[in-house]
Amino acid sequence: MPKTILEFEKPIIELEQKISEMKKLSETLDIEDEIKSLEEKIQQLQDQIYSNLSRWQIVQIARHPERPYTLDYIQKITTDFIELHGDRYFGDDKALVGGFAKLNGETVMVIGQQKGRDTKSNLYRNFGMMNPEGYRKALRLMKLAEKFEKPVITFLDTPGAYPGIEAEERGQAEAIARNLFEMSKLRVPIIVVIIGEGASGGALGIGVGDRILMLEYCWYSVISPESCSSILWRSWDYKEQAAEALKLTAKDLIQFNIIDRIVPEPRGGAHRNPDQAAIILKEILIDELNKLKKIKIDKLIEMRIQKFLNMGVYLE
């Protein structure tokens, strides 16, 4: 049973508990049919709830503490992962992990924002909020990948870049800007995957690439619904409305051509079945990478830049 249950998951979890109790009973009683019909009922209920999720509910799934994080995906999807540390200038940002690994037998550079699962690990990972040295570490690893012609895969999952005093002193804005600039012209394929929260420039700082994939129950926008509420409504109470207004889900973003492909999640979300989530993502990553490898690098970079130049809606 999951430790954290979201409000709208409750009826499903309750039925699931009932089934597991009945299964124990079924060792002595003949209630197979009842169990079967209850299982069907769960499926129906789940389909009904998950096809009508509000944007705020999707934000909550994206933040679910049992959702797979970057290192979970790396561990489930790749082999031979060797973590590489440090930006070579200042330090090692624990909110950003990366290193070489093999995907389907071929070497890739995997880089991603890493959250913690409890208080202790969250403090260690700074809740997935990067400092400038994290962006510079990511860039160092991307340059390393470029040198040895290995594709880059980045995983986005952050509530934002860290708004700290030292972060400003060390040039948070410059570090993010530099990455946007350098990633635009990196001479290897880049696949970006939004696996949880994609909050603003902090997420985008490792988010420029040839293919932008987004898991089904994630959010990606210019600001979190809470902060948007506090600024525009001058109150923290309008996060649901802010989430609706920001149109921050995968289904929204694919319509604006901000993402290229939605990665389906297992029934009930990635946190209900992390292994299955990883299997689905792995297949899609292999498929996308194979497509990108066929394109000459100069053309690929031109297409990458053009893709971002096409983003925006205006009147003239």
């Binding site: 040039g171 926008s221 604006f256």
Partner: protein
């Protein structure tokens, strides 16, 4: 990355000079000096006593920087399309309409070509008075086109930033303008055309985290607020008091993120000198 920052009571001028207080006299925000309008203009909208730099708009910068009548505006009437149909306490469409009415501008940046002491340049100049100088699709597109113009003409690019960051009401589309403008700057760099970034009060959020920090030369006006996260957000997140002078131009110079600070009265001559050095 909020565009929002309550303005100081100082001048946030625009093409209609709406915010310049009525009458001939203005009070300096910093030292309280009473300054005559003519005097203010003569001093490039700075206080002659304490050097306080008033917030000014694109029209004033054009007047200060460009040779007379040389500035030719591009894409003047490009406007926001409200792609998200965004409504908070007020529809975004109305906010835009009001901003257009109040400022006489169409969005938060004006772009064009012009001459600075005879040097041809392409320029993009932001207006804080238009929804906090926030960057949405229009700002991103106009800046991308200005860069394109720079590449085509080989005229150096100058961007004067004055912005609270990306515009919330266009959601992820605003965020993508950071990537869009930065991607275009890689093409400018490849074409080896110089880019001078001028950071003025305030330059924060997504604007700082994209083109404002990517100049071949980064210049700041004295005393400007420049940073990524806003001071209020940092205070809230860290629970710490911010050190004196934190996130000012002088602080950024000390930390190594800008090349030099330039008084607005000397901006034209310094930019000319740079253009000369690049061209000779």
């Amino acid at each position: 990355m909020a565009w929002f920052r309550r303005s100081k009571s100082g001048i946030e001028s625009d093409s209609k000079k709406k915010e310049i207080p009525d009458g001939m006299w203005t009070k300096c925000d910093k030292c309280g000096e009473i300054i005559h309008k003519k005097q203010l203009e003569q001093n490039a909208f700075t206080c002659q006593k304490c050097n306080f730099h008033f917030r000014i708009g694109s029209s004033e910068y054009i007047q200060i920087l460009f040779d007379e009548k040389s500035f030719k505006e591009m894409d003047k009437k490009m406007m926001s399309a409200d792609p998200l149909n965004f409504v908070d306490t007020k529809p975004y469409k109305e906010r835009v309409k009001e901003a257009i009415k109040n400022t006489g501008l169409y969005d938060a940046v004006r772009t064009g070509t012009g001459k600075i002491n005879g040097h041809n340049v392409v320029a993009a100049i932001m207006d804080f008075s238009f929804i906090g100088g926030s960057m949405g699709s229009v700002v991103g597109e106009k800046i991308a086109r200005a860069i394109q113009k720079s590449i085509k003409t080989k005229y150096p690019l100058i961007i004067i930033s004055k912005s609270g960051g990306a515009r919330m009401m266009e959601g992820a589309l605003s965020l993508m303008q950071l990537a869009k403008t930065s991607a275009m700057l890689t093409k400018l760099a490849e074409a080896k055309v110089p880019y001078i970034s001028i950071l003025t009060d305030p330059t924060t959020g997504g604007t700082t985290a994209s083109y404002a920090m990517l100049g071949d030369v980064n210049i700041a006006e004295p005393g400007a607020l420049i940073g990524f996260a806003g001071p209020r957000v940092i205070k809230q997140a860290t629970g710490k008091d911010l050190p004196p002078g934190f996130q000012t131009s002088e602080f950024l110079l000390e930390k190594g993120f800008i090349d030099f600070i330039c008084h607005r009265k000397e901006l034209k001559s310094k930019v000319t000198q740079l253009l000369d050095l690049f061209a000779s």
